[in-house]
């Protein structure tokens, strides 16, 4: 049973709960929706789905290559499969299936990477999914969505049913507070501007979005105005928002619970590097650079400098603010 706890002063939530509730609501009105998993009925929060729709929960056992191929086959026959597995195994073990069977074949499968990033803390790097964003960004034809909170998790699942394109969704386990302003819609391929500012832009994704907002509060108290963009879509990439940030603010700091080789920061830097001369803001990239040592998720986020304080330090250094 998932409980909602208070991690800091704010209530924080496991996004898998919102995922499970939304999926059941949608499935009740749409017979095409099926869930496929790799023995992860519990960890993918599919116990309720199985109870309500026993015939539509397909558990293939511990076999991730088969898992994704089965998803492609179901989609090719007109069903809408939500293929669920712990993110490291879904993306790592099934990467060639994601490339060939899902993205290249354009079968509408919704790949649900559960407990991504370092959610499995002490279980170690084998169970961390910090390469997924880099691996999947290199595959054309696959939308990549990283919800930052409960609301976005629900929105992402709804959009996956409405959109015939294949999609990867990171479904977070590490508890995060709500960050999405009421009434803000999820638009394909767009970052969300959730705080305006003129000195520096912080572009954060998933777990890091609430931390970016906290960093902006600290910066404001120190006289630095920070814009915060929630990179909820990594693919398609919001090139325009990055270009605007590079022109309108003096620096960009990116923050992701992922390896820096090829992830959000690399994507942002690539856009900025290709701007015409004179419009290049410095870019600072926060993320993982090596396999994690033993520690809880919270400990490891701090270990890798994925905290509000570290974001503040990077922002001030980048704009030359003493």
């Amino acid at each position: 049973m998932i409980t909602e706890t208070v991690a800091t002063e704010r209530p924080s939530y496991d996004n898998r709960k919102a995922f499970a509730e939304e999926l059941i609501e949608l499935a009740a009105h749409d017979d095409r929706i099926v869930a496929v998993c790799n023995d992860s009925v519990g960890s993918s929060n599919l116990v309720g789905f199985r109870k309500d729709f026993p015939d539509r929960l397909i558990n293939v056992g511990i076999a991730e290559q088969d898992l994704i191929g089965v998803g492609a086959g179901l989609a090719s026959s007109g069903l809408i499969p939500f293929v669920c597995a712990a993110a490291p195994f879904l993306t790592g073990r099934g990467l060639e299936q994601i490339k060939a069977d899902i993205a290249y074949s354009q079968h509408r499968v919704i790949l649900c990477g559960m407990s991504p990033g370092m959610a499995y803390g002490e279980l170690g790097p084998t169970h961390h999914s910090v390469e997924d964003l880099s691996w999947l960004r290199a595959i054309p034809g696959l939308d990549i969505v990283v919800p930052a909170d409960r609301l976005q998790t629900r929105q992402a699942i709804r959009s996956a049913v409405d959109d015939p394109r294949p999609m990867f969704i990171r479904v977070g386990r590490f508890q995060v507070p709500d960050v999405t302003p009421a009434g803000m819609s999820l638009d394909r391929g767009r970052f969300q501007g959730i705080r305006d500012g003129k000195d520096v832009t912080i572009i954060a994704t998933g777990t890091m979005v609430s931390r970016a907002l906290d960093a902006a509060d600290i910066l404001e108290a120190q006289g630095v105005s920070a814009r915060v963009l929630n990179a909820v879509y990594l693919a398609p990439l919001d090139v325009e928002a990055i270009q605007v940030a590079a022109r309108q603010t003096r620096a960009i700091v990116t923050a992701e619970e992922a390896n820096v080789a090829g992830g959000l920061g690399a994507a942002v830097a690539s856009v900025v590097a290709q701007l015409e001369d004179g419009a290049r803001s410095p870019v600072r990239i926060l993320g993982l650079t090596e396999f994690a040592p033993t520690g809880s998720t919270e400990y490891l986020l701090e270990h890798f400098g994925l905290t509000p304080e570290a974001i503040v330090d990077s922002a001030k250094e980048a704009i030359g603010h003493g």
Partner: protein, 310 residues
């Protein structure tokens, strides 16, 4: 569009084009073929399949000679299997390739695309004249099949060990949707070394997918060597049986045996057909020779091969 062919191939291209004009360019070609097949007696059925398979083999040779690339050995070993399925077995409508209750076919050994494309074209999915664009720049006919470009292709294959899990998903979908669709997946024998196939074999048996048939093109060779010298598959039938499949063995070049082997499951289990074939079948100097996995015939060799396939 046709690229520039070596002049030495020109007579064969002209002959090939004239075959198209006389035989297979009109819409409804598959329906007429199916009608004549169904009304024929056993010998008549075999004659129809033999003629079509010969046509496909000649097409494969010409395509690969023209492209200067391809996997000719496996194309020739799988041709009788594809011909038997598309003319004699599959419930399909090439003029309506998205028909929801169609039978599904996946060529997991996607490198044998030349034979697959020829089979699809002669079944009426697209104009046979397209075949000579095989592997030319920007052609829909890539070296491995692409469903977003070629009607009749259900899923993109090429990396081995992908087709069967997809077939398992399609067979599960047919059960959920209460559709009469049957699912056929053709695999290479070397491909059975991929672990993903054994994941899917477990799943197919566990779920009692009696609407699923796999056909293993057992030509005993893989790219670099004989399968048994590389990573032994035998006893393959025993392995498949122990995994819970109804196993049938057939001469993969005997149309009558293949038609029997492709009948629906009688046991409630999924069916595995081990089709015993000869790599390079039909061309004496290619048969059972490992180097013809993807060697390209010279103009002289093409001429000799076409003469044998008259």
């Amino acid at each position: 569009m046709m690229g520039a062919a070596p002049s030495s191939l020109q007579p064969y291209l002209e002959e090939w084009n004239s075959m198209l004009d006389s035989d297979v360019t009109e819409a409804g070609v598959w329906r007429r073929a199916r009608e004549s097949f169904e009304s024929a007696d056993s010998q008549g059925k075999q004659k129809i399949l033999r003629e079509r398979a010969t046509h496909t083999r000649r097409s494969v040779l010409t395509m690969i000679s023209h492209a200067g690339m391809g996997h000719i050995g496996g194309d020739l070993s799988v041709t009788d299997i594809l011909t038997t399925l598309f003319i004699g077995v599959l419930r399909i409508d090439p003029e309506n390739p998205e028909w929801p209750d169609r039978d599904r076919f996946i060529l997991s050994k996607g490198h044998c695309a030349a034979s697959f494309y020829s089979t699809l074209a002669y079944a009426g999915y697209f104009a046979p004249a397209e075949l000579m664009s095989f592997m030319q720049p920007l052609s829909a006919l890539n070296g491995h099949p692409n469903r977003t470009k070629v009607p009749g292709v259900e899923s993109n294959t090429g990396p081995l060990g992908h087709g069967l899990p997809i077939g398992v998903g399609q067979a599960i979908a047919a059960k959920l949707l209460k559709s009469p669709s049957r699912v056929f997946v053709v695999l290479g024998d070397g491909e059975m070394q991929e672990g993903s196939n054994w994941e899917a074999l477990m799943a197919g048996a566990h779920r009692g997918l009696d609407n699923l048939t796999i056909v293993i093109d057992r030509n005993l060779l893989q790219q670099g060597d004989r399968t048994e010298e590389t990573n032994r598959l035998e006893p393959l039938a025993d392995k498949l049986t122990s995994f819970g499949w109804e196993v049938r063995e057939a001469d993969g070049h005997d149309y009558s045996a293949l038609l029997d082997a492709f009948l629906p499951s009688t046991t409630g289990k999924p069916v595995a057909v081990i089709a015993h074939t000869t790599k390079g079948k039909g061309v004496s100097f290619m048969e059972d020779r490992v180097e013809w996995h993807h060697k390209v015939p010279s103009a002289e060799e093409t001429k000799r091969a076409l003469a044998e396939l008259a």
